[in-house]
């Protein structure tokens, strides 16, 4: 089975700044890492390959600087990495991103399963995975935490874990899943694999190779724009209640009563 994992490079630090003009993240000078949800997706792919064989291709869209992050996935056991990069793609929102990525996936071809992280830790939209599936006209499931090949090998058995419940769902291949944290801690690369793959190359893909509608990519192809980004004010207050146990209980009741009358 050929698995394709979409990954995104996100800033490792939560203390990042925004460009005041474009309201997009200033990414220079900050260490980028694989979006944690994407690393769970990659871990599921690697474990699946361990059990069933096949190949893993990693695809990302971003600036050339993130090549190193893609290359790093070779040391985890990935077979091929592709970076879709082009100035024309800059400033894309989720729709333009998923349009571009789905075009790249069509171009790559022969993919049985696409795995994406549930969402990125910088954008937090959780839209790109499902949108890619729609563009490719594939069945998809969100919140996947584990997967197995069904005895009828044209299906996957997917464990789906949402905040309310866990479901087991059969999905026909080819398909797309967005992945949440499951029971597996993503494995670290091994020293041996790292050294063996030092000379492997990250394949670069640009808009030239893809038949893209120029009105549907980059900033121009993005119907949504970030107008403002701000940190919500935390209005919760911590109160330390002091005194004897009786005094503390009385005080607590008083506070709770006050809140009830406020509401």
């Amino acid at each position: 089975m050929n698995i394709l994992v979409c990954i995104k490079a996100v800033p490792s630090s939560s203390e990042v700044n925004l460009d005041p003009e474009t309201k997009t993240l200033i990414r220079s000078g900050i260490e980028n890492v694989i979006n944690p949800f994407d690393s769970y997706a990659l871990e599921l792919a690697l474990r699946f390959k361990e059990n069933h064989g096949g190949t893993i291709t990693v695809l990302s869209m971003g600036i050339p600087d993130i090549k190193e992050i893609l290359h790093h996935t070779y040391s985890l056991g990935v077979d091929k990495t592709i970076l879709l990069t082009d100035r024309a793609l800059a400033g894309a929102d989720t729709l333009a991103t998923s349009y571009s990525l789905s075009s790249a996936i069509k171009h790559i071809g022969d993919i049985d399963l696409i795995l994406c992280g549930k969402q990125s830790t910088d954008g937090d939209t959780a839209q790109v995975g499902p949108e890619i599936a729609e563009f490719l006209n594939l069945p998809h499931l969100t919140y996947a935490s584990d997967l197995k090949l069904a005895s009828d090998k044209s299906y996957l058995v997917v464990k789906r874990r949402t905040s309310e419940k866990t479901q087991t769902i059969y999905i026909k291949l080819p398909a797309l899943l967005t992945v949440v944290k499951g029971k597996f801690v993503p494995k670290l690369p091994t020293l041996e694999k790292y050294i063996q793959t030092l000379d492997k190359k990250v394949e670069i893909m640009t808009t030239k190779e893809l038949e893209l509608d120029s009105k549907r990519i980059g900033l121009d192809g993005s119907p949504t724009q970030v107008v403002n980004v701000y940190t919500p004010k935390n209005t919760n207050k911590n109160v330390v209640i002091k005194g004897t146990t009786d005094e503390k209980v009385d005080k607590l009741i008083e506070i709770l009563n006050l809140q009830r009358s406020d509401n």
């Binding site: 040391s75 670290l188 091994t190």
Partner: protein
């Protein structure tokens, strides 16, 4: 606002540090400047115990009556210029690290306890995992301002004041001359934090670093920092036997790999990590340990650029393979997320030990872990490990051995299951001290002597040497007011 206040029950937390020793005090002061320390010392004629953030493991900051002078409000970083950071003693290591990180700077000594403060680190010549490459805090301290017991101030800049053989002379800012002779002692040639640092013709700033606050109160410090290494990577390699792991360490530490840190996990540590990972939700994020390996070594490598990093990793891989390890089962971290995973793995061992002891304390309230802090010269690494394992196995004690193996500085942590085992462990600790000192080792490589390990200092130095150290203290502190009970028994002078 009064500088000195009466000790109240709310100050109770100031009576103990991480050694779990407990003391008492009559008054408390939180100075914010050198001038306030001088005023306090002149106002109050009682004994003074200087404190930082109370993270010490040897009871150095535990008061024995008198006044507590707590420096945690002296927490200002005053300036950074030409890679010299000028700061007050109460600055926390975590705050300093964050401050420097933003400027792409790096303070190489890496004491494990990030909430330790700079003053405390100077007082006990702190060290950590990266001491292997960068040394302890000592060489990085370029200047100190010290308030002496009489309220006069001494400023010492590295490279400016030297002893002549063992004779020395220092002049305070007020013009007083302190003349004397340094004790004639032989310090072990290993990483060491036990007793005063003394060498013929020494730089006299070194006398104060590691003196545990017994000679004066450090009120300002200048630290040398360096540019942050652009590549920090690490490998945790697993070995089938301890012998293999020790052979790897002996080779790699002398090689071009030039490890910044080499940290060890023995069979019991790995077993404990395996079990906790399966049973304790707090440790489920640990990496799955490969089976059939009985020891592990963490190797941290600093490089200037990627090509150098990769060459060093290849070399490291060769040494692992040559000594029976398998690079295919060796974890690698080349980015901050993965490095964090390896550090989490490394710090989990002492954390699990502490959790285990906390559980046992419910039945035996006075039980503590017994943690050693001894180091030996390179040639005794294999012997010291055999000594530990043989004695602990014959005594049927539960234990783990982990820590700074690059400096032959392993932490043996004994986990006594009852008071009888505690006594048994303590006796072993004393036996080992005698043996290790005879091999040219030290009884304390990084935690200091404080009040907890005074009997161990007496194993390292003979009576005359200790007497001459006490005389040295009296030269700076004639009434024995500063940190009484540290290094020597209180009232001994």
């Amino acid at each position: 606002m009064h500088l000195i206040t009466v000790f109240l029950p709310k100050d109770d937390d100031l009576l103990r540090d991480e050694s779990r020793l407990s003391g008492n005090a009559e008054s408390v002061a939180y100075p914010i400047s050198t001038e306030e320390i001088v005023s306090i010392i002149k106002l109050n004629k009682s004994k003074i115990t200087v404190q930082g953030n109370l993270t010490g493991l040897a009871g150095g900051a535990v008061p024995k009556g008198g006044l507590i002078l707590n420096t945690t409000k002296m927490d200002k970083i005053l300036s950074v210029d030409k890679k010299i950071v000028h700061c007050q003693p109460g600055v926390l290591l975590s705050d300093l690290t964050k401050y420097l990180d933003d400027k792409r700077l790096f303070f190489p000594p890496d004491p494990t306890e990030k909430s330790a403060c700079i003053g405390g680190m100077v007082a006990c010549n702190a060290s950590g995992a990266r001491t292997l490459k960068y040394g302890s805090i000592r060489p990085w301290v370029k200047y100190i301002k010290v308030v002496l017991a009489n309220g006069e101030i001494l400023e010492l800049t590295r490279g400016e004041n030297f002893a002549e053989d063992l004779s020395f002379e220092l002049v305070t800012n007020e013009g007083s001359i302190i003349m004397g002779k340094l004790p004639d002692i032989n310090m072990p040639e290993v990483k060491n934090a036990a007793g005063y640092y003394i060498k013929p013709d020494m730089d006299l700033i070194d006398l104060f670093i590691g003196s545990e606050g017994t000679l004066g109160i450090v009120s300002e410090v200048k630290l040398q920092v360096i540019s942050k290494p652009s590549k920090i990577v690490a490998v945790t390699a697993f070995f089938e036997s301890e012998e293999d792991a020790l052979d790897y360490v002996s080779e790699v530490r002398k090689s071009e790999v030039d490890p910044a840190a080499l940290e060890y996990f023995d069979e019991n540590s790995l077993e404990m990590l395996r079990n906790e990972r399966m049973q304790n939700p707090a440790f489920t994020e640990l990496q799955e340990l490969p089976e059939n390996y009985f020891s592990a070594v963490y190797t941290e490598i600093h490089a200037k650029e990627k090509s150098e990093q990769n060459e060093l990793l290849k070399l490291c891989s060769d040494y692992i393979r040559k000594n029976g390890g398998n690079p295919a089962h060796s974890w690698l971290a080349v980015n901050s997320t993965d490095l964090e995973q390896l550090r989490y793995f490394r710090h989990s061992t002492p954390e699990i030990v502490n959790l285990t002891i906390d559980k046992r304390k419910k039945i035996y309230p006075n039980l503590t872990k017994l943690g050693t802090d001894m180091a030996v010269p390179d040639e005794y690494l294999h012997q010291v490990m055999n000594l530990y394992h043989n004695d602990l196995k014959s005594a049927n004690l539960e234990y783990v051995i982990f820590g700074h193996i690059g400096d032959n500085h392993l932490h043996v942590n004994i986990l006594p299951r009852n008071y009888a085992e505690y006594s048994l462990g303590k006796a072993l600790y004393l036996d080992w001290s005698n043996q290790l000192v005879s091999w040219g080792g030290t009884v304390s490589a990084e935690h200091g002597i404080g009040k907890f390990k005074r009997e161990f200092l007496e194993i390292m130095y003979d009576k005359n040497s200790i007497e001459s150290m006490k005389h040295l203290k009296l030269l700076f502190d004639p009434d024995n007011r500063l940190n009484p009970g540290n290094l020597f028994k209180a009232g001994d002078n």
